[in-house]
Amino acid sequence: MRVSLSTHGGLAAGLRLGRPPSTVDTSALTGAEAGELTRLVEAARTASAREGTAEGVGDTMSGDAMSYEVTVDTGIDRGGPVVLRQTDTSMTAEFAALLRWVQQHLPQAGA
């Protein structure tokens, strides 16, 4: 499984320009952690579909809001990787929980 996060924009957008996505080392996850991640992804995906915010359709950026794209590739999902995009100004609680988990499991902090 491969989980990555792209972060763009914001007041400090210049620092984020051209940075590659950060990737979580999932090989080090325990079974419980992997289960937690799967649950968070499913909840975020369901909430996005419910709120019509899947991949941030129609959600434009303004006034320094940041955007986040979480890509989850299980390698066995026939539909390909799950890609979820949301922004600071319209974020579901479920996406916020997933984002927080991913940020906590990144190898190093970034801007």
């Binding site: 007041l11 400090a12 320094d64 794209e69």
Partner: protein, 402 residues
């Protein structure tokens, strides 16, 4: 046939509230009469709430909320209000004071009454998210993170950052510059320009005394960066291994072509803003003295005369014509504006390329106002029709006979 207008007054309160903020005194008065009459007839809670909110507007009253690491604004709790005591929390007080200084700057220097020039409330949210490296304007409120403690610290620490975010609201309520490509870079530049001006004004610094930096106090002390951006030297605010190099250009020849996507910063709105920002710096230094006096006034009036799609050249032309209007044709101020844009590779043309030029500086504003009013009235009529249909279907008070 004649209908009793009073009895038809079932325009939803939120529409009335917008009409109450109309530039047209006649529309405001009609909306107020409607609101009061409706309140008397119905005694509705929501109508009374509108009146309470109306009474609270007009003064740019500040409220600061503590998010306690939540990203959900409705979950944040009241931490300080306009008349309340100071908080024990530094971020709360910094946001409160910064919003106050910015409000005062707009009032005293530019004669603008808060974000919308009608005393819009100033709501700030602090401690948003966990290790959140950002501050933003969401269209209604300003939100500040605590920083990760590695690169950034508290985003309420720089007055210019607070003024930057508040100015996004001002821009939205004036030109409404689209947040993409050159218009977006002008939007960003305007926030940086007003950001540094508020700081210079609060410190009473002249153009040559000021540091012209944005966000000098939001970096952690050991990070080895001067600031997020420099209007004096775009591209030179930071350069180190962890952060990379400040990517802002200071001249049109270095304009950075970026895709209008998330990862392209919407066409480089935070990147190419360096060009008009440098033009402002050059103009202000050439004029000398306090930058907020002449240069700031010229830029602000040009913002008010711009539209959503204004680009660098048109904005430069507008500043040139505004300088002529305000300080005289061929005045030192107008020459400084011309030299300022020259310095970044933009040659101003005497005839502004936008419609909102010197020929009719207020005339086009009036047309815009009328169009806005028409749109508002149209929306209220639609709402009225829906309301009438709803009541007819729902068995409420019958619609007036046709």
């Amino acid at each position: 046939m004649r209908q009793d207008t009073t009895r038809q007054c079932i325009i939803p309160p939120h529409v009335l509230e917008r009409l109450l903020e109309s530039d047209d005194a006649a529309i405001r008065s009609a909306a107020m009469t409607t609101l009061l009459t409706t309140a008397r007839l119905r005694g509705e809670r929501e109508v009374r709430a509108s009146l309470v909110r109306l009474a609270a507007t007009g003064q740019g009253r500040r409220t600061v909320f503590d998010c306690r690491k939540s990203t959900s604004l409705p979950m944040c709790s009241l931490a300080r209000s306009e008349d309340g005591p100071p908080s024990a929390d530094l971020s709360v007080n910094q946001a409160f004071d910064g919003l106050g200084s910015t409000r005062q700057f707009y009032q005293d220097v530019l004669e603008r009454n808060s974000i919308d020039d009608r005393g819009m409330r100033l709501d700030g949210y602090v401690h948003r998210g966990v290790k959140y490296n950002n501050a933003f304007w969401n269209g209604q409120v300003m939100v500040f993170g605590d920083g990760d403690g590695i690169i950034f610290t508290d985003f309420t620490a720089s007055l210019d950052v607070i003024a930057h975010e508040l100015t996004h609201g001002v821009t939205e309520h004036t030109a409404g510059l689209d947040y993409h490509n050159q218009s977006g870079a002008l939007n960003e530049s305007m926030s940086d320009v007003m950001g540094v001006l508020v700081k210079q004004w609060s410190l009473q610094q002249t153009a040559d005394q000021a540091d012209w930096l944005i966000g000098a106090d939001i970096f952690t002390p050991g990070i080895g960066a001067d600031a997020l951006r420099s209007l004096k030297a775009p591209g030179q605010a930071y350069d180190n291994k962890l952060l990379g190099k400040d990517p802002q250009p200071a001249h049109m020849r270095d304009y950075v072509q970026l895709p209008d996507t998330d990862d392209g910063d919407n066409g480089g709105v935070h990147i190419n803003s360096g060009i008009p920002s440098k033009a402002f710096y050059l103009t202000a230094v050439e004029i000398g003295g306090y930058a907020w006096e002449a240069a700031g006034r010229i830029w602000y009036e040009s913002l008010r005369a711009s539209t959503a799609t204004t680009e660098f050249q048109a904005f430069a032309d507008t500043t040139f014509s505004k300088a002529g209007e305000l300080y005289g044709i061929d005045s030192a101020e107008q020459q400084a504006v011309q030299a300022g844009w020259d310095g970044v590779g933009i040659t101003v043309t005497a005839e502004p390329t936008t419609m909102r030029g010197s020929a009719a500086p207020t005339g086009t504003d009036s047309v815009g106002d009328v169009l806005r009013h028409l749109a508002e009235m149209s929306a209220s009529i639609d709402a009225l029709r829906r309301d009438l249909q709803g009541q007819a279907v729902g068995g409420g008070r019958p619609a007036p006979p046709a």
